[in-house]
């Protein structure tokens, strides 16, 4: 269990040679216990050449998941009596996966025999509706989908509402996931986050649009999507979200189980829409990281005043014991006085709570051999919490 304690930190402006402005909008720092993991204690410096030709960017990038599928949970009992399948694309693939109870690792799960699967349309049983059947054994041989089988519908049966039944013995209470994958679908759900890294308490905007593939335009939808957060441990938390322009906004629930080192949370969205009389169902998800402010850069970083500088002074305020890396990209000037990036430098220290003046070491050999001249500058100063695998600041 992480110990959480707020520390009020006065923001101090130090009289350093300014090359990089510090971010004054950082939240209060928190004190967390040291993670239960092997954390390096030695100070390590590393610089590497980087290409002066390739453009690099540390700006946070968004992510869009374009989904042509949906999935839902059902039981053995429901599968025996029949579950509704909404197909919007001819030739859809249906995957059936048996789930395992978390506390029943030894229990054998009965995967579904694809030869026992029947398909009905308008209450009529279809004759030989599948063009491809894959058994549990075939998936298992390639270590791909556990306890799973798959069936591909013949194109000739088109789209619409179908009923899938399993004519076999299944445990009534056994749970299954039914996944309908519609490759080349005309309707796809676009779920987008503007970035994938957030600080605890930050508001998150997302957009969820059903688009037609042929025009790439959003179509009007009915109702609000269902949205929830999936924690790394598999817990599902339904979200209350508000409309914010053409996006939706929510605050991350504060009672989420903490992630282990490096694990991510997921935003899931489920939609169901009627388009030209056809029910189109889609699920989509995007992963994101939630970090806690365990340390921050104070004041401005300053490069050594030298023809060939060997370090940059950086001041850190640390609230949580752990290992922190400061890094930056070093630029030099070419003959046309154009500033070009040529070196990525990093220094990591194991630090206890308090104020620390650390040095970001630069490799003077790389500087001398770069073919670039002073003035040398640093940009993209970053602070990472290596103990907790969290991005804390990027300037």
């Amino acid at each position: 269990m992480n110990k959480l304690k707020l520390i009020g930190c006065a923001f101090s402006i130090l009289p350093l040679l300014t090359t990089l402005p510090a971010n004054a909008q950082t939240p209060d720092l928190v004190e967390l216990s040291v993670p239960d993991a092997a954390i390096e204690k030695q100070t390590v410096h590393f610089s590497q050449r980087i290409s002066t030709n390739k453009p690099i960017s540390f700006k946070a990038k968004g992510y869009t998941n374009i989904s042509d599928e949906y999935w839902f949970e059902t039981t053995g009992k429901q599968l025996k009596s029949g579950v509704e399948l909404n197909i919007s694309t001819p030739g859809a693939l249906v995957r059936l996966s048996g789930k395992q109870a978390k506390d029943k690792y030894s229990t054998q799960i009965k995967a579904i025999n694809p030869n026992a699967v029947q398909l009905f349309k308008n209450n009529k049983k279809l004759s030989a509706p599948f063009s491809q059947k894959v058994s549990q054994q075939e998936f298992a041989s390639a270590n791909i989908f556990p306890n799973s089988s798959a069936l591909k519908l013949k194109n000739e049966f088109g789209k619409g509402a179908f009923t899938l039944k399993v004519n076999d013995y299944l445990d009534d209470n056994q749970r299954y996931v039914v996944n309908v994958k519609e490759k080349n679908a005309e309707h796809k759900l676009h779920l987008a986050l503007a970035k994938q890294s957030y600080m605890q308490g930050e508001k998150i905007n997302f957009s969820s649009k059903l688009k037609t593939t042929s025009t790439n335009k959003a179509i009007s939808t009915q109702g609000r999507p269902l949205a929830y957060i999936k924690t790394p441990s598999g817990e599902r938390k339904l979200l209350n979200f508000a409309k914010n322009g053409d996006q939706f906004q929510f605050s991350v629930p504060t009672d989420l189980a903490p992630a282990k080192r490096g694990q991510l949370f997921e935003l899931h969205v489920e939609t169901e829409n009627k388009t030209n009389g056809l029910k189109v169902k889609r699920n989509a998800k995007v992963a994101f990281a939630l970090a806690q402010p365990t340390a921050r850069i104070e004041g401005d970083a300053a490069m050594q005043k030298s023809a060939v500088p060997s370090f940059v002074d950086v001041n850190l305020q640390v609230a949580s014991e752990g290992r922190y890396e400061v890094s930056a990209v070093v630029y030099g000037s070419n003959d046309k006085k154009l500033s070009l990036p040529f070196m990525l430098s990093r220094s990591a220290y194991y630090l206890t709570p308090g104020e620390h003046a650390v040095k970001l070491q630069l490799d003077t050999d790389i500087i001398k051999n770069s073919g670039l001249k002073a003035p040398y500058t640093v940009t993209n100063l970053s602070l990472m919490d290596q103990s907790r695998l969290a991005l804390l600041q990027q300037m």
């Binding site: 092997a38 390096e40 030695q42 390590v44 590393f46 590497q48 050449r49 980087i50 290409s51 390739k54 690099i56 960017s57 990038k61 992510y63 999935w71 839902f72 949970e73 693939l93 996966s97 789930k99 395992q100 109870a101 978390k102 799960i109 491809q132 894959v134 075939e138 998936f139 041989s141 390639a142 270590n143 791909i144 989908f145 556990p146 306890n147 798959a150 591909k152 996944n179 994958k181 994938q196 890294s197 999936k230 598999g234 817990e235 599902r236 490096g262 694990q263 997921e266 699920n283 998800k285 992963a287 994101f288 990281a289 290992r323 990525l344 220094s347 990591a348 290596q386 695998l389 991005l391």
Partner: protein, 285 residues
């Protein structure tokens, strides 16, 4: 005359350097907890064929680690760093080629991208001359997402979908997008890796039972891989889209450009001596 003497001296220096340089290769497996990767993951035929490219074929190691864990875990990159350090020190390796398959490329990229997180990493990085990444899952795979679908539980019941290892979670597409943006180098827009990272891309799966080529590496795998193409792009090796395999570093070649008979390499065939792959790699190390 001066030029001639300088040339002779340079030749001597180069000869001496190659005489003292000790080249080695490490075979680094993909997802899974390996204890005998030589037999179970690569097969001796593949390893021994590749080793013919070394001047001293004893200077190799086959890594056995737990790559079911996240790439940063001590059992993954920590274990890899320990075995590489031992190999480098025991064999006095000065120039090291890393040959990776699948998720092994990500574990190696973790070390190359996070040199300050472990005091052993800089010494390893300084010895690595190149990484040959066979079918690396650099941008993840939609199959990992599919495996994790529905993998939620209500706290009272606790139902899970199997094969939910940490490595599978990590290789979900949007997860890898986050890790590539924040923790890994070598993808588009990010600083380059500190050493060459060149990819071999598998582009298709042959599973026709009448085609003998389908049987290289085991036919039973091919049928399942053909099916998984439904979740993947038209260019994929049955596990990974070509775009993922090309997502970090530089492309060395796509299978059909260099293999015998222009045969594609499925994800399982790209760690076997199929269609001259072993010889192509041997001639490059």
């Amino acid at each position: 005359m001066i030029k001639k003497i300088a040339g002779t001296l340079l030749s001597c220096l180069l000869l001496n350097f190659s005489a003292i340089a000790a080249e080695g290769i490490a075979f680094i497996h993909g997802t899974g907890h390996q204890t005998d990767a030589y037999n179970d993951y690569w097969t001796g035929d593949f390893v021994n064929s590749v080793l013919q490219g070394l001047s001293d074929s004893s200077k190799y190691t086959v890594i056995n680690c737990n790559f079911d864990q996240y790439m940063w875990d001590t059992q993954a990159s920590g274990c890899l760093a320990a075995q590489l350090t031992t190999f480098i020190n025991d064999k006095n390796i000065t120039q090291l080629t890393l040959l990776t398959h699948s998720n092994g490329g990500n574990v190696v990229r973790w070390i190359l991208s996070n040199p300050t997180s472990d005091s052993r990493y800089p010494a390893i990085i300084n010895k690595v001359t190149k990484v040959i990444a066979i079918a690396p899952s650099s941008l993840g795979t939609p199959l990992a997402d599919a495996v994790k679908q529905g993998n939620v539980f209500e706290s009272t019941l606790g139902w899970l979908l199997g094969y939910g290892t940490d490595a599978v979670s990590q290789q979900q597409v949007s997860w890898m997008s986050y890790y590539n943006q924040n923790w890994l180098l070598g993808t588009s827009g990010r600083p380059s890796l500190p050493t060459e990272f060149k990819n071999i891309v598998g582009s298709d799966v042959d599973s026709a039972f009448w085609d003998g080529d389908s049987y290289c590496g085991g036919y039973q795998y091919q049928v399942a891989l053909e099916t998984t193409q439904n979740w993947l792009d038209s260019c994929s090796d049955g596990f990974l889209n070509c775009s993922s395999q090309r997502g970090a570093g530089t492309e060395w070649f796509t299978d059909i450009q260099r293999t015998n008979g222009s045969e594609p390499l499925s994800h399982h065939q790209s760690r076997r001596d199929c269609f001259n792959l072993d010889v192509i790699i041997r001639n490059d190390i």
